[in-house]
């Protein structure tokens, strides 16, 4: 493992990679700050910029955008009560209250420190666990892959937000969109309506840009904006007592976040909600939660960062995206000609370890950048939206065009943007659609191969103990939260808390922004 780490440091510490890592972290923070723009949008919009780069450099920059945007989203959560990310939704509860109490700086500082600690802890676990995970997954054949895809699709439950049926409908829509183009196996053109452009399928990045960037802009234009709270420099200093109060929540949040992040699809949103819920239950200052408790910022912020890192285990080792942003990153891998999955660790050790080590460097940069500069970043919130959204429109369209140098890409962005707007207006969750779109072709490939092995008999899946185990896990993931909720409601009526409680463990995370 030491050799691998050294290889990673050697790869990540080149001037070029350090530079682009810094650019990614900085751009990510700025993007996370923009109202409504989150890491998924950031990665999708800036992906075209990286096409000319070396894959490792490109992925380091995109990963930097990912966790940079998460921190940027925290700043908006605290200062204007507008989470840039679904994973920061829960931070708004106490973070915004802290800001209103004049402790905006402390909230931002503990979020940065908590995120950093979580990143380092989870990174150590990631480095220890990802390779054995990948080695185990090396034995996978088509039946195991099929089971794995079912597991990936089962995670949609946790992305569904308010209504499971709505989430499943969106997942089916994603799967359906994924079938457009030439069929795997038979080579038949499906749903192309005679269009040559559609033969290669609905382009993934353009759909992401449309859904997340354009859809969000239209949504914001329709919804209107809210007044920000200004952060003053003297609010920034975090007190020793606040730091001491945050140690345990940060550690608990990191642990919980990592555990949940490892599960494919559970994403950082769920982790942040559960960490908040747990903290609210175990904290000696329960009464302060919701009124500006620093623990209410420290725990979910650590959790979402730990989960974001842990998300890379299923993404890199199994090829199943851990969340919407890692789904886009997965798309990026394929654009660079890389196939995420167990073989990646064997075939591309420099890339994998360089990327993992870059998380450490990127998080360090983020801490150094954000502790002193958070109020300066916060000034960006004062850029009038009247300038900002037209710029986002241009960036989205030029980015989409540059992927295949085709105006058709821009039309896809417009169509996906309109769809994204409608989905936001009517609370249709986007993450299941993204997951369906990403996993659809992989699922179909596994399905076709498995059925070929069994001569049309798909029950060959049950002959593999690994596949059966994965399927059982999928079942637990799909139905476990409901069963757990049912058990809790029954037992909660007799001895539970009165009044509104925290979000319960295993509960589907609400995704008001439709992003997970």
């Amino acid at each position: 493992m030491i050799d691998n780490l050294l290889l990673g440091f050697e790869a990540a510490l080149s001037w070029q990679n350090l530079g682009w890592c810094f650019v990614g972290v900085l751009l990510g923070t700025v993007i996370g700050l923009m109202p409504g723009l989150g890491s998924t949008t950031g990665v999708a919009i800036l992906l075209p910029l990286t096409l000319a780069m070396d894959p490792l450099t490109a992925l380091i920059m995109l990963a930097g955008i990912y966790y940079g945007a998460q921190y940027g989203g925290t700043i908006t959560s605290v200062l204007i009560s507008t989470p840039g990310e679904a994973a920061s939704v829960v931070t708004t509860i106490d973070g915004y209250q802290m800001a209103r109490n004049g402790r905006a700086g402390a909230a931002l500082a503990i979020a940065a420190i908590g995120s950093f600690v979580a990143a380092i802890l989870s990174l150590a676990l990631l480095i220890a666990l990802a390779p054995p995970f990948a080695r185990w997954a090396l034995n996978f054949g088509p039946p195991e892959n099929l089971a794995l895809m079912v597991l990936g699709l089962a995670t949609i439950v946790s992305f569904s937000g308010g209504s499971l049926a709505r989430g499943l409908a969106m997942a089916c829509l994603g799967l359906l969109l994924g079938t457009v183009g030439v069929a795997i196996g038979t080579g038949e053109a499906r749903y192309t309506f005679g269009s040559v452009d559609l033969l290669s399928g609905i382009p993934f990045v353009e759909v992401m840009i449309g859904l997340f960037a354009l859809g969000e802009v239209l949504h914001q234009v329709r919804q209107g904006a809210e007044a920000p709270i200004r952060a003053r420099f003297r609010d920034l200093v975090i007190k020793g007592s606040e730091l001491r109060r945050s140690v345990a929540p940060v550690l608990r949040g990191s642990g919980l976040g990592f555990l949940l992040g490892v599960l494919p699809g559970s994403g950082s949103t769920l982790a942040s909600f559960i960490a908040y819920g747990v903290e609210k239950r175990v904290s000696p200052r329960k009464a302060e939660f919701g009124k500006g408790a620093i623990e209410g910022v420290a725990a979910p912020e650590s959790a979402n960062n730990a989960a974001a890192n842990a998300n890379f285990i299923p993404t890199l080792a199994l090829g199943i995206p851990g969340g919407a942003t890692t789904a886009v990153l997965l798309g990026a891998f394929t654009i660079y000609g890389l196939q995420p999955g167990p073989l990646l660790f064997e075939e591309q050790p420099r890339l994998v370890w360089g990327l993992l080590v870059s998380f450490f460097i990127g998080n360090l940069m983020l801490l150094v950048l954000n502790l002193p500069l958070a109020p300066a970043f916060a000034q960006m919130l004062r850029i009038p939206y009247g300038y900002l959204y037209p710029i986002i429109l241009i960036t989205s369209c030029v980015g989409a065009f540059s992927i295949s140098n085709n105006v058709f890409s821009i039309w896809i962005v417009l169509a996906a943007g309109a769809a994204g707007f409608v989905m936001k207006q009517y609370d249709l969750p986007m993450a299941p659609l993204v997951l369906g779109l990403v996993l659809g072709p992989l699922f179909e490939k596994a399905l076709v191969q498995t059925s070929a092995i069994g001569n049309g008999d798909l029950t060959v899946v049950f002959a593999s103990p690994i596949a059966v185990t994965v399927l059982v896990l999928a079942g637990l993931l799909a139905f476990g939260p409901q069963l757990w909720g049912l058990v809790r409601r029954r037992s909660g009526r007799s001895g539970g808390q009165g009044g509104p409680g925290g979000p319960s463990a295993g509960a589907p995370a609400p995704t008001p922004a439709g992003v997970a």
Binding site: P48, I80, T82, T92, I93, G161, G162, S163, A165, R166, L168, A169, C172, L173, L175, L176, T179, G185, T186, E188, R190, Y191, V217, L218, R222, Q223, G224, E226, G277, F289, G290, G386, Y387, I391, L393, I394, C397, V398, F401, V407, I410, W411, Q425, Y426, D427, L428, G440, F443, L447, V448, S451, N455, D457, L458, G492, G499, P500, P503, A507, P510
Partner: protein
């Protein structure tokens, strides 16, 4: 902030004002899309002809289409039941303003976006944003922005990408958003120049220059 505490999950969101008509219409459209996709998909062949029943090109389309129709139909049914229940209960609970389409329970999880903000700002009869725009004005704004964006894309073959989108930026910031002319103009020029430098000069993307062929 009373609405800040998340409701005990995983209780499904209960729309307090009953489902919106638009939402039900969207669900109904999804049912139709699902059915049509499944029917068309079946034409691709659920199994490979002549094989022992191997999965064909139509299997996933049929599965996904049928699933879409089924789950969207569940949502339509839920909407219909909710409307009936809502009518039976009366409209007593419909005072609180909510974001359209967002069920109250979910909306309550986003502090500062819903009821408490409206209450904090002396509860105006119509929700206004920080620019003082009413909901109706924002609706009109949305149509204008969408229309102009469409126009900009349509104009690409004529005037080229950068001129078309540069004009879009200028018109949106100056005319539509009412920002001062000079900063709008400066922003436009900076964005156009940076876009050209990054995409055309640095990345070598051949942005369409249209019939004008200027930029």
């Amino acid at each position: 902030m009373s609405t800040a505490s998340p409701a005990p999950a995983p209780a499904p969101a209960q729309p307090a004002e009953g489902p919106s008509r638009g939402g039900t219409a969207i669900h109904a459209v999804l049912v139709v899309v699902g059915v049509v996709a499944a029917v068309v998909g079946a034409g691709y062949g659920i199994t490979v002809p002549g094989s022992g029943g191997e999965v064909g090109a139509g299997a996933l389309p049929v599965l996904a289409g049928a699933g879409l129709a089924l789950f969207a139909a569940v949502e339509v049914a839920k909407d219909v039941i909710a409307v009936r229940r809502h009518r039976a209960v009366g409209t007593a609970a419909s005072g609180a303003p909510t974001r359209p389409g967002l069920p109250l329970a979910a909306a309550d999880l986003v502090p500062g976006t819903t009821t408490d903000v409206a209450a904090a700002s002396e509860a105006p009869s119509e929700e206004r944003d920080i620019f003082g725009r009413t909901a109706a004005q924002r609706k009109k704004l949305l149509l204008v922005v969408s229309g102009l964006l469409l126009l900009a894309v349509l104009a690409i073959p004529l005037v080229g990408f950068l001129i078309s989108f540069g004009l879009l930026l200028l018109v949106l910031s100056w005319k539509v958003e009412g920002r001062p002319l000079l900063p709008s103009l400066v922003t436009t020029v900076v964005v156009v120049v940076v876009t050209r430098l990054v995409f055309v000069n640095f990345l070598g993307v051949p942005l369409p220059s249209g019939l004008l062929g200027v930029l």
